[in-house]
């Protein structure tokens, strides 16, 4: 057999130039000795500029300063593979990469330097994101373009100390967004408090926010700090800001402008270092035009405005949100629900969600009551969605009817699950047997002519006989 021809000397160079992984070598002084074509492409630095320079000036990875892989390799003489990190290129872009390092040794085993191989991971990252299509920030998940744009600017919004105005229909996640802003901000270690302004009358809202001094009014027997005081350094969400009175609006404006507030019954101002996020389910500009909201406060609040789209405009998020809620409720309720079956998904995708994400969450929560494992099926959904609903689909049922229908489906399904054994079904539903009988009668539930007890009894008898 003929001996193969000896490999030419420059073959290593040819191989290094042809691969798509970046490769560079360094000497003991951390100066770059070689730099291949892919390294040029990934870093954007020409070989002539790189060779002879310190590796950290060229490579610029976040691990250079504190956890250099090459340094560890050269100290320990061992190989490190696939460490994930990022480099910063001259366009100020972070490029995710994976890094492997190995010592360069002489034939006698002496360490001459190190070799670092790195792979541009941004395409993989982008594909992974594209496949998954989601962005998650705190409890907000979305693959919707508008939401993505909003979340892209969220770190900048969070970093700034500006007042933020959140607009969006009820149930669109204004509080979640406010919380995400707080958690991404330098104030994240301090408290976050959400106040619903429409839930409290004016004077009570004022005393809750600014506190009061003893003797400020009857029964004010001792000082009470307000949320602006206990949240010092943190964030306050003022929800339903559009529902506040003109008098309260004046006081809030003063707090925002002077960064100080006066507790009820006090003559001294208290300094306030609280970031205010205002939220409303209406267009605040419309309320200003109608004369129901002070324009000066509007302009003071409207520094950064973020509008949350209703769920009907981001239906592509429904599967993602369902998955999110199922995961969370499985953990909370120790269940093993695997998701929703295709029929359920079809039904849920067709719904218009006047109650937005909160409504979807409630639907899933309802299904969790009836479904312990496996996929959620149509029969687990509230009556208005179920195939078993006695209501025509083109008619919006009145609330009482919907509740009755939901209850009827729940009872019927539980009975089915327990082979129509009334006692077992009553136990599973957490009600007395007589209550179950009363409800079956009241809701007009028609049961088949089988009795759970007798069925199981017969079975037992039959087994015994056999």
């Amino acid at each position: 057999m003929p001996r193969p021809k000896p490999i030419p000397d420059n073959v290593t160079e040819i191989i290094l130039e042809s691969i798509s992984d970046g490769v560079f070598t360094v000497d003991h002084d951390w100066r770059i000795m070689s730099f291949n074509r892919a390294a040029e492409e990934i870093t954007g630095i020409r070989r002539e500029e790189a060779i002879g320079r310190h590796c950290w000036e060229v490579f610029r990875a976040n691990m250079c300063e504190s956890d250099c892989a090459l340094k560890r390799t050269m100290q320990e003489g061992s190989t490190l593979t696939n460490t994930t990190t990022y480099i910063v290129n001259s366009q100020k872009k972070r490029i995710p990469i994976t890094v492997s390092t190995a010592p360069l040794k002489s034939k006698s085993g002496k360490i001459l330097g190190g070799v670092e191989t790195f792979r541009d991971y941004s395409l993989v990252e982008a594909l992974r994101k594209r496949l998954d299509g989601r962005i998650q920030m705190g409890d907000i998940v979305s693959r919707n373009r508008v939401m993505h744009e909003m979340m892209a600017i969220l770190p900048m919004v969070a970093e700034s100390n500006s007042t933020v105005l959140l607009e969006g229909e009820t149930g669109t996640g204004k509080e979640l967004l406010a919380r995400a802003i707080h958690n991404a901000s330098p104030r994240k270690e301090k408290p976050f408090v959400a106040i619903n302004c429409s839930a409290l009358p004016d004077t009570l809202l004022e005393s809750e926010l600014f506190g009061y001094k003893s003797g400020a009014f009857t029964h004010a027997t001792r000082d009470k700090p307000g949320y602006f005081e206990v949240t010092q350094g943190g964030t306050i969400l003022l929800d339903e800001i559009g529902e506040t009175s003109p008098a309260f609006q004046v006081k809030l404006l003063r707090v925002l402008e002077t960064h100080a507030f006066t507790p009820l019954g006090s003559v001294r101002q208290v300094k306030s270092d609280v970031r205010v996020i205002a939220a409303t389910n209406r267009r605040l500009a419309d309320l200003v035009a109608e004369g129901k909201f002070r324009p000066d406060l509007f302009y003071r609040i409207n520094v950064v405005r973020m509008v949350l789209p209703p769920l009907r405009n981001r239906k592509e998020d429904i599967p993602l949100l369902i998955e999110h809620f199922v995961e969370r409720m499985n953990l909370l309720r120790a269940k093993a629900v695997t998701g929703v079956d295709p029929d359920v998904l079809r039904v849920l995708m067709c719904h218009d969600y006047p109650g937005n994400i909160r409504e979807l969450e409630n639907i899933i929560e309802h299904a969790f009551v009836l479904c312990s494992a496996g996929p959620i099926e149509i029969r687990h959904l509230p009556g208005g969605f179920g195939g078993q609903s006695p209501l025509p689909r083109d008619r919006t049922p009145p609330l009482a009817q919907t509740l009755n229908s939901t209850e009827a489906v729940a009872i019927l399904n539980t009975l089915k699950d327990h082979g129509y054994n009334r006692l077992a079904a009553a136990k599973a539903l957490g009600m007395h047997k007589s209550t179950l009988f009363r409800k079956i009668k009241k809701l007009g539930i028609h049961l088949p002519d089988i009795d759970g007890r007798s069925a199981s009894g017969k079975q037992k008898t039959s087994q015994t006989t056999d």
Binding site: W56, V58, N62, E65, K92, M156, E159, P186
Partner: protein, 123 residues
């Protein structure tokens, strides 16, 4: 005038996003007359800019920096001179003397980026 510089031993920290230490010097008539060191969190650039503005720091010299912190620093009014490399004393000495930091102290492949950031910042 006060100048801040991100440091790593006696060198400029290679990546602002992973830097931890800051040297703040006061330059008067081409000489450094005061210096103090501080630590900071690069993930909270607005905290850093607030502290720098409180101390009347006008310029921040650093290594490579990514878009978000660069935008926060620039928006605060502090002059950012990024992609600088080398020994801290040599860089500060050159800056105090009004000598151009480019091209001697610019990271490889970043000359264009520095001039794009602020053509006047490197003198």
């Amino acid at each position: 005038m006060k100048v801040a510089i991100t440091i790593w031993g006696d060198r400029i920290s290679p990546v602002f996003d992973a830097a931890r230490r800051l040297l703040i010097v006061t330059i008067d008539q081409g000489h450094i007359i005061n210096r103090e060191e501080a630590t900071f969190d690069p993930e909270q650039p607005s905290n850093l800019t607030k502290a720098l503005i409180d101390q009347e720091v006008a310029v921040l010299i650093c290594g490579a920096v990514s878009q978000t912190p660069a935008a926060v620093i620039t928006a605060s009014g502090i002059r950012l001179i990024p992609f600088i490399t080398g020994k801290v004393e040599r860089v500060l000495g050159a800056y105090a003397q009004g000598t151009s930091l480019a091209p001697a102290f610019i990271m490889p492949g970043c000359l264009g980026a520095v001039f794009e950031t602020d053509s006047s910042s490197t003198h």
